[in-house]
Subunit: 613 residues, 2 copies
Amino acid sequence: MIYNIKNFLLGKALKTEQLKGEKFSIFWGLPILSSDAISSVAYAGQEILFVLIPAVGYMAFTDLIHVSLMIIFLLFILVFSYRQVIDCYPNGGGAYIVAQDNLGVTPSLIAAAALCIDYILTVAVSIAAGAAAITSAFSSLLPYSVAICVVLIIIMTIGNLRGISESAKSFAIPPYLFISIMVIMIVVGFVKYNIMGIHPKPLLVIPGFTNALTLFIFLKAFAAGCTALTGVEAVSNGIPSFKEPSQKSAKTVLLLLGCVAFVLFGGISYLATIYKPVYNSDITVIAQLAIQIFGQNSFMFYIIQAATALILIMAANTSYNGFPLLLSIIAKDGYVPRQFSKRGSRLGYSNGIMFLSIAATLLLVYFKGDNHNLLPLYAVGVFVSFTLAQTGMVLKWLRHKKGSWRHKALINGIGAILSLVATIVIAATKFKEGAWIVCLLIPLIVFFMSRVKAHYVIVADELKLNIDQKPKIINHEKQKNYMIIPIDSLNKSFLKSYNYARSFTEDIIIFHVSVDEEMTDKLLEKWEQCGDGIPIVVKKSPYRNLIGPLVKFIESEEFVIMPGDTITVVMPQFVVKKWWQNILHNQTSLFIQSTLLKRRNIALTTLPYIINE
Amino acid sequence: MIYNIKNFLLGKALKTEQLKGEKFSIFWGLPILSSDAISSVAYAGQEILFVLIPAVGYMAFTDLIHVSLMIIFLLFILVFSYRQVIDCYPNGGGAYIVAQDNLGVTPSLIAAAALCIDYILTVAVSIAAGAAAITSAFSSLLPYSVAICVVLIIIMTIGNLRGISESAKSFAIPPYLFISIMVIMIVVGFVKYNIMGIHPKPLLVIPGFTNALTLFIFLKAFAAGCTALTGVEAVSNGIPSFKEPSQKSAKTVLLLLGCVAFVLFGGISYLATIYKPVYNSDITVIAQLAIQIFGQNSFMFYIIQAATALILIMAANTSYNGFPLLLSIIAKDGYVPRQFSKRGSRLGYSNGIMFLSIAATLLLVYFKGDNHNLLPLYAVGVFVSFTLAQTGMVLKWLRHKKGSWRHKALINGIGAILSLVATIVIAATKFKEGAWIVCLLIPLIVFFMSRVKAHYVIVADELKLNIDQKPKIINHEKQKNYMIIPIDSLNKSFLKSYNYARSFTEDIIIFHVSVDEEMTDKLLEKWEQCGDGIPIVVKKSPYRNLIGPLVKFIESEEFVIMPGDTITVVMPQFVVKKWWQNILHNQTSLFIQSTLLKRRNIALTTLPYIINE
């Protein structure tokens, strides 16, 4: 039944040969790879206002422009830096690969840990913001925002386990819709205010005071806005998905992404300075602007909210492409459990997808689905990876010194330094609000990754065959194969185990743990009547424990084995028709497995006994 | 390490011979067995007021006396009815046993289900009320009431898993403390008001209006107060714990219990009529009375709150004696999983204890630790079991017709009828507030219990040996013992499995699932060099599934087996030193176990491969 549900939800399993990637042109690639970056327009501006308004009051709307310009400047530095990464890593150059290639193992693991954290946060933040766009339009849904988030994640999980990349082209529509609608809003907003002279009142109360901007507040606002830059890496990771010439296309897309973000981010910031929306946890800044420009309950208002929600969901979905892929690369290198490198029945990296969904859901539930609570954790990871990638690039240029390497090293150098500064600013200004969690997690994850690698190396070493190691020639005369059959009462299930064991060997030990003397006597009597002469070894268990006496017996001197002998414990296991019936039987064989197998080299044979009902 | 923690918390395992029950005299038995009944004084009165005050206003304090008298009347009927149960069932006569003995299987299961539900509710209700006594004294703890409840349950769980019955006598102190302190409060309250003429103002606002009492409100208030009667069965269950003459002692204790409840319940109701406390979720009625009589922050006020909290915890603890015992009796009859009848390492029925704790914790968390939310579910179960037990007794008298049977049947008959009426009243008046959950659960549990029994009967039938069924004589010439060894890559772990299998049989099949052709070719080449001639069976797995092709191969016509042949799949299993390393390896053998064992009679041998780190 579970199998049928799975088939219904995920579709039938796909063959490995069916693995194929759709290739994008620039026109399709831009929206699909840039939705993360573009969607941050929906929350970055409002986070800046959240910092500025309480500190500088009415001046916030002027200062917003300065902060936004600074962020757009940083964006273009990153765009040009990453265009050079694309040149050098035609197979996709994530920070992990660039750092591994140029800086060594530890920096690459730091980049990997930072990226993993930020992929998870991208899902949580974008979904929370998407839910906020929905609840801003329908305020009656406000109490259900966590539920909305969880439902969205479930839908995305199923979609990605099915492998939604088939229908990837339809994913290009929401970003284009969002971009057009934002451009329309910016233009209409500009025209109405400046040309038609319509100056609607702000929806919410604006503080009456004005203060001068301090450096700390400026940096804090800048850090808040840096969340807009998180999506840049996606393009350089996505090179293989472009049609030839893929590198050139990717570079163009990256530049276009910069321009789109410039227009939208700058435009929205400008609108904010004239329409003066205020941070509020119940209604987003975009929603406030839409109401002022197009009117409450207007058609355009709902379209804007819908487009915002959609692109934010798309943005979360980019993590579903990026995270499982990154994890599979790290898993192939042996730094995380190998299961992450295996493709599921629909060819997606299903373990990575599930991990991402569970982690994001926990975050959303813990932070009550409020994207404002999550944002302080965000962006630290991305900027750590930016810094490492750009530093790696600088070292690469210094090492190879080919062509116009000085010029290129300079661009990446500026990128590295500015990323480092941004990392420090973000971590410092948001430290107390939550960035400390990320600062703590990154080294912990790096430590875990190196432990995992160490374990895999040891296992591989231990398993490796010497060249001359061949199957042993067995001396059946000398070697004894013991089979131990525990008996509780004399029934068909025991008899099946006994017959099975007898078909292999004569060295049989029937072992009985006595908890109740009366029952033991009955058993021995019965066995004397219908047994075939092999005695039952009886051990008392004063502590009513069934496994302890068996282990003790095998380890005792009473039981002498020679090198080359094998010991096999034969356990019947009831196989029932319905899952709930399993709780009606002692799952002794599972317990035995975990205790017995650790002690000595004892094999455990599980013999099914199927209960027909 | 887990083992050490367990030893530290629970103490060392005890031998079966160490099982011994302490026997009580009347003096010790009364407090220990009656804490459940007596403790309900702490909440029953306030629940009656909760119903009355909004309906009849100022008249509530007069009507309270009428309702209380009615409940005390019912209490004495039950006391006399149950004294007759004690006469007939010297080994303890719970409703389950009385119903089973006189009414048949289904009524006994209904009684069992009802009792189980109410044992769990006793824990939840008492703990919640105990926490309320604490937070009434220290209002700063109010936000942590759920946490307080959970901590109390954890402490009780550990205590009961250790087996606290050893120190049972110290459990007699809190009930006696509570009884004395309540009697003091009643006397002082009476004297101050009536003799010294001190009339303190009520702490909270009393409604100004007065209404006449309707029948429905009267019944509702009566139902709310019936929660005071839940502890009566404990004494008739506890007969074996009394010193000889145990039946006589138990009967005396039951009568004394009635008298104590009469004094306390009646006294508190009387105090309420003169001091006029009002239901409030932040401060209990007892606490309000204590403040009015002894003053806020007085020594006596804190003593009263402490004694109330303590006796409520004792009351919860009576369920920890009753529930696991009842469950073990039902388990021995085969109606619930057999694991509930096994004694744990400290001789307590640890599975029952754990089940009780988990169920009560879930209830407390779901109902936010508020005993007022839980009470509507309470008492239905107990009165269902009262009705069944008393009806059973009536039938017993009618059947045997010995001695003064007419007189006795009359008493039990009145008990049965009044219990039935009370059941209907409670279920009807509290239905919407939560009693419907219990009305739904009882038949569900009865259904589950009969399914469990049916399963055990079938399994026992299937396992039963015919008298002439003896171990088979095996024809080693004709019979083949196949051993299938899956191979992934040629390493020490495979070689170990191979050598193991070779030591038993020559009929070996090496089975390889090919996911990657290149790796398969390498493997075959290597095996040709160092193998011993046995070929590798290679099956492609287009769906990257490792178990599917194996199952398909075994079930295919390619693999012909004769009756009597055995098939064993030999799987190596990595045994790692640290628990977290398990997630680094595919737990393939666990998966194989669950899929393979279901298909056909295939044995599975797990061969440990210990990784030394």
